[in-house]
């Protein structure tokens, strides 16, 4: 081939690279244009999916957040300033989330961020959030264990949710458990937690199955459950393909085996999307569902329905987004400034908030909530009833010694490092 051409190319590439490296020296953070955010007032970023895979769960999150911000602005804003919102649609795409997070930080100079449904999204943007020490609220119920100085994972953790529902199920139905879970981080870690909690309560996991997220045919799984004949099933199925499980459960006559869950009903409202009685005797460990019969919650749901006329179900994380905006407001007002360090200090001072789920407190050490957990039961008409609520704190992170008030970490702990999860 053309040896001379190659040599020239190298020379050329080399000189181009040199020239470019030279340029690198004269780049300022804001560039020559020097972007400032559009207005001087505070800006909050709301990155929630309104299209593609996570639109079903992301849309209500977006809507409750907007509701909270609009309510606050109507009542005079925060510290007398009206709040601006940066609310693009990340389209359930982690790469898009990364770019939008950069946009939020550099171009909008946002004061705080609410972003993402899935844990993968959170992990995708956490390096950027960490680089810029950006205040970030992640409110989906999740596997737990994130211990990060500027991140506030305010949703209930797997341990909190399973800690509410697994002991209840063991009391009610017996001690043989069959676990079915989505085959990814959240599902696998939830499966570990079921085993740990079962052991603590003298119960036993007799079977365990992890199912790829895009599986929609459950014949084999249902078969395996039938032959294992457990006292109850623990389901950590996730996503739209997995919701087929319940229809197929009904048609296979599996409704006589009750199901405990930390994922279904309170996230993707399967009990409303699927015809009864497919979810008969499903018990969910939750901190919130739209059906919660308290005056405060009913008023909240009414405000939401008034604001959004084709309103979709308020899922758990939508409520979490709502109260966390108010939590942030409280912290800013106590700090008297929007400046991140001062707000962080206030957030770590033991704040309480009047959430639709009830009065709850933020644990300063772990940046997690002490949630009001209850067990929600769906009957044959998919009517929801709740047990008495109990306050469950972020016990796992306390056990591993996460104390963000004294040590600024940026880690995620996992149960198998601290428990025997054989």
């Amino acid at each position: 081939m053309t040896g001379r051409g190659v040599a020239r190319r190298d020379v050329l590439a080399g000189s181009v690279a040199t020239a470019l490296t030279g340029l690198a020296g004269c780049v300022a953070e804001g560039g020559m244009v020097g972007f400032e955010s559009g207005s001087d007032g505070p800006t909050l970023a709301v990155l929630e999916d309104r299209s593609r895979d996570f639109a079903l769960t992301g849309t209500p999150k977006y809507r409750t957040t907007m509701l909270a911000i609009e309510e606050i602005n109507r009542d005079g804003g925060i510290l007398g300033e009206e709040i601006d919102v940066f609310a693009p649609d990340p389209q359930s795409d982690n790469m898009r989330y990364q770019d939008l997070t950069r946009h939020a930080i550099y171009r909008e100079d946002v004061d705080a961020m609410w972003a993402g449904y899935s844990s993968a999204t959170r992990e995708a943007i956490r390096p950027i959030v960490n680089d810029h020490e950006q205040l970030y609220f992640y409110t989906t119920q999740y596997e737990g264990g994130v211990c990060d100085k500027t991140v506030f994972p305010l949703g209930a953790t797997a341990r909190q949710q399973l800690g509410a529902v697994v002991p209840y199920m063991i009391d009610e139905y017996g001690d043989e458990i069959y676990t079915i879970a989505a085959d990814y981080n959240f599902g696998q870690l939830s499966g570990d937690w079921v085993r740990i909690i079962a052991e603590e309560h003298g119960a036993e996991v007799v079977g365990e199955e992890y199912i790829p997220l895009d599986e929609s045919q459950f014949g084999s799984t249902i078969n395996n459950i039938q032959s294992a004949d457990p006292d109850f099933v623990m389901s950590m199925l996730v996503g739209q393909d997995h919701s087929s499980f319940y229809e197929q459960r009904l048609a296979s006559g599996l409704t006589d085996v009750p199901i405990g869950t930390s994922t279904n009903m309170a996230q993707e409202y399967e009990h409303l999307r699927i015809d009864p009685p497919a979810l008969q005797d499903v018990y969910a460990g939750v901190n919130y569902m739209e059906e919660l019969p308290t005056d405060r919650n009913e008023a909240f749901v009414e405000r939401y329905d008034e604001r959004w006329d084709d309103a979709e179900y308020i899922n758990q994380e939508a409520q979490n987004n709502y109260f966390s905006v108010y939590l942030y407001k409280e912290a800013v007002e106590r700090a008297g400034t929007f400046e991140t360090d001062a707000v962080l200090e206030q957030l770590e001072s033991g704040l309480e908030v009047e959430a639709p789920e009830g009065d709850i407190a933020l644990d300063p050490a772990t940046h997690h909530m002490e949630h009001n957990m209850r067990v929600a039961h769906a009957d044959e008409n998919h009517e929801i009833t709740f047990t008495e609520s109990e306050t469950i704190g972020p016990a796992f992170l306390e056990e591993v010694g996460c104390d963000l008030t004294s040590e600024a970490e940026q880690t995620q702990y996992e149960p198998d490092a601290f428990y025997e999860v054989a």
Partner: protein, 293 residues
Amino acid sequence: MAGLGLLDFGFEFVEIFAFVVLATVGLAVIFGMMGIINLAHGEFILVGAYATTFSFAAGLPLPLAMLAGVVITAVFGVVLERLIIRHLYGRLLDSMVVTWGISLVMIQLVRIVFGNSAPGIGIPFGQLPIVDGPVYYLVLAVIAVGLLGGLYALFMWTDFGVRARATMQDEETARSMGIDTDRMYASTFAIGSALAGLTGALYAPVMPITPEYGTGFLVEAFVAVVVGGASVIVGTVLASGFLGTVNAAVTNVAGTFMGQVAMLIAAIVAIRLLPEGITGLLADLREKRGESE
């Protein structure tokens, strides 16, 4: 116990076989016969499912609602064919990009118009004794087999079938022999769309419906069509049988994840060993036998 295990396995096979056949059949006609890589295949299924669900919710009995799903998807297919697809014949790879665009548009339009979820239907017919599976799966399998038989008869034995195949093979010659090739293209595309609509209609009770509903069918469909090879109907049967067996067997032994991976790897190996698909192999064998006779 072993007998019961075998019965369970058989039932799982029926479930997966029906799923693969029904996911594939519409695509097999459009891709296999017309050379259009229809990446919007899943969204044709989506149209069928939505039409069925909303007809059912509006009070139609389920069989009629399903029929509505099929008809609406067929009409939708014809409109799309006349507007866009007809420019893409003979442009196999361009068709892929265009249909990808169509799929983006449709998913989002469905979301804007109907929201993020649709009412459920519920699986009809109750459950089978002994294996405790839904009777409906057997119905699906019977429909799948009947459909393949019907299509084979339609394309091989009827006047329409001969004309359609002639058009797909050599448009010029077909037209010079007096065949209205435009109509042949449109009607073949309509049949493919109707089949996709039927799949959506049949699975509307099994899988709760969202705008992303169709994406769940796409991979199985493409893999089966390619493994099947040039002769669409026979190919679909053989490929679905092959892939279904691998998936059901491995799932039975090693769980759902391994079943899925095994099916995909089996497909890769099959394409490598049989570059012309299963029916290519059959044609080769037939040729060889012809030579030796």
